[in-house]
Symmetry: C2
Subunit: 399 residues, 2 copies
């Protein structure tokens, strides 16, 4: 039975694997001889190819940002940013041609550590080079070339996606009109790096990791990846979001009832919903995501700092950029709190760039950027409507 798909969905989508033959020289000095990128697009590219939007994904995201892959699977969840992408949604597929790809080093179809190394006939594993945000953006620019897109109407991303947006504005100033940077930071804090290191230690200390060659042993570091993801989830949810999600039933409610009725376990079994939730989330993730990719992307995050080539002055990094900026943060995001977004904004202002900044009141923490929060959705819609108006025949010709 075919599923019922709402009218504001992009519907059934089919990803395409695009092959690149040219060598890619990486920030590390290493070379990737050839690679594939898994890509999904929504909407139609207009005649002058001016209506293209690039969506950049975060740590655990991929190319599947909207719609469904399977017409029959009733339980399938839509793409990770489905609340924003579709006809009449903020990233409106009636107006824009939207491109999303699984980044290089990923594990959803693009070349990454779990891909077969043609030289050995085995997965790259730990031999896969570490990729930086700059490398990603370079590979995305080649994808734009292949799609015939000289200039994106907008490059958009949340969290690590927002870092790619900044790198686009700096590395390719003439290739985007608008940069939408959501729930991001100009670089990681020591605390962010510390959490990443816990995640990496969790994975690499798992005996099933086999120094990254677990594919050869027909296993994977399930426990390590589960722990890494549990730590991640705590980072993505605000304390408040956890209280709202689990508080009433789990902490005050049933905890209290159980304590009074003597029903607490008094064992190491799960007593609180938050524990089983985290464990479930961690276990599910660990069966779906490649551990080497997780390691790689935490390093990509740690290494991000576009100011390093500019005497550690981020404003200098932005000086040559030509696009307009929208920066959005969320009040309870404690991974990349609003002050980190304000750092970006202040440096943009110092570089005399045109920037709009919005801090959204939301209880959901870092995860808020993925959620249909009314004021956030309205803000995106309103900004993107302006971007679309520039595409109107007159404006498009004038620009």
């Amino acid at each position: 039975m075919a599923k019922t798909i709402s009218s504001d969905s992009v519907g059934i989508v089919t990803p395409q694997l695009i092959h690149f033959d040219e060598r890619l020289e990486l920030r590390s000095g290493r070379i990737i001889e050839q690679y594939d990128l898994m890509v999904e697009t929504y909407g139609e590219l207009n005649a002058d190819k001016s209506n293209a939007i690039l969506i950049c994904h975060a740590l655990s995201g991929d190319h599947h940002a909207a719609g469904y892959h399977d017409a029959d699977n009733q339980r399938e969840k839509p793409g990770w940013w489905d609340c924003c992408i579709g006809p009449s949604k903020p990233f409106d597929t009636k107006k824009f041609f939207i491109v999303c790809l699984n980044n290089l080093g990923g594990c959803a179809g693009s070349t990454g550590p779990s891909s077969i190394d043609p030289k050995t006939g085995k997965p790259f594993g730990p031999d896969f080079p570490i990729i930086t945000v700059r490398d990603w953006v370079k590979s995305q620019a080649r994808l734009a070339d292949k799609l015939g897109i000289d200039k994106w109407a907008a490059v958009i991303g949340g969290s690590l996606g927002g870092m790619q947006v900044m790198r686009w504005a700096i590395s390719y100033p003439n290739r985007l009109r608008h940069a939408v940077i959501i729930a991001a930071a100009p670089k990681l804090s020591a605390q962010n790096i510390a959490f990443n290191e816990v995640a990496r230690q969790s994975i690499t200390s798992d005996p099933d990791f086999h120094e990254g060659r677990y594919y050869d042993f027909d296993t994977y570091p399930k426990r390590g990846l589960m722990l890494a993801r549990m730590v991640g989830h705590i980072n993505y949810l605000s304390d408040r979001a956890m209280r709202d999600k689990f508080g009433k039933d789990a902490i005050e409610g049933s905890f209290g009832r159980d304590l009074r009725s003597g029903k607490l376990n008094f064992s190491y079994d799960v007593d609180f919903q938050v524990e089983s939730y985290l464990k479930y989330k961690g276990e599910t993730f660990s069966s779906q995501f490649d551990a080497n990719t997780y390691l790689l992307i935490t390093k990509t995050l740690d290494y991000f700092d576009p100011s390093v080539d500019y005497d550690f002055d981020l404003s200098k990094a932005f000086v040559e950029s030509q696009c307009k900026y929208l920066v959005i943060s969320f009040s309870t995001d404690w991974r990349f709190p609003p002050e980190r977004s304000r750092e970006i904004v202040n440096n943009l202002l110092k570089a005399e760039k045109q920037v709009s900044y919005l801090e959204i009141e939301a209880d959901q923490g870092h995860d808020a950027f993925l959620l249909p929060i009314p004021r956030y959705i309205e803000a995106l819609r309103s900004y993107m409507d302006c971007v679309a108006e520039e595409l109107a025949p007159g404006a498009a010709n004038a620009s």
Copy 2:
């Protein structure tokens, strides 16, 4: 060669193991037939036994709160609260008789999971019952009986130690004059519980855990305990403290220098000082602390909520208490932030108790309660001077 010990140190101290023959009925309904508590004391008990202070330790603390155990070891660190305990220090050993014990379930000499179960001749391991704060305080009251102390001049503790102080005030209202509750919370938040669950999963998913019977296998869950402690350390340090500790040299400084000179590892080796610091701290801890005790104490924390017997109204829990209160919090503590301390204060006020509250500006996060921060030390000294004045012959007789 004997070490040089400063004049405000309690000097060389010798812990004593005190045996308890009476059965202890626990909150869980289980029974501990007999047990030992490892105890350290500093200063002299006065004639009317009115000058005794009980110090309650936190997750990784023990009975050794001040001074040194070894006259010859030049590299030995003093007890964990040495900055507060000693002649002329806030908890002044010229005025007070100070008692500190390793709590039941601990791993520093008191009966705990690593102790030998007389019934089996093997370590208790996972058969050791889960202990609550209420159970601890019950065992501490028995220790007070044995020492002939009817009423403590003060019961004092930070973090989980502060939770024991609250329980003392509620369970034994006539047995303490002052309650000093530092960097604590009325109960854990969902986020606190989530971090504890990550720590537990780290330990129990380590193949060397052997369901808690690792003693029998002549091993211990080194990696799991290391990870648990790394997560703990991130909780204990503020983001600001990390930035101060590692920022200049590790994030902006050498990171930048390395990036520019191409010296970043581009591998999964340690790039940042914060990574090696955490790993070092985790590894050191895991070789010194018992994993089953760590599990046990995280559950003790999760289960703490003195309001459960009072319709979840903490103020009602405090109504019968007779002592005066000092509550202290630290501005950058994100484990138990100032608002958690204010919850305690507000409930004490609602219960019409006499309470002083102090929020200390400090960059060090939760760890601040262990550190010689001038305003904090002065506040403790000033409060404890008043407590000591009550002990003066006239006042002591009048009370």
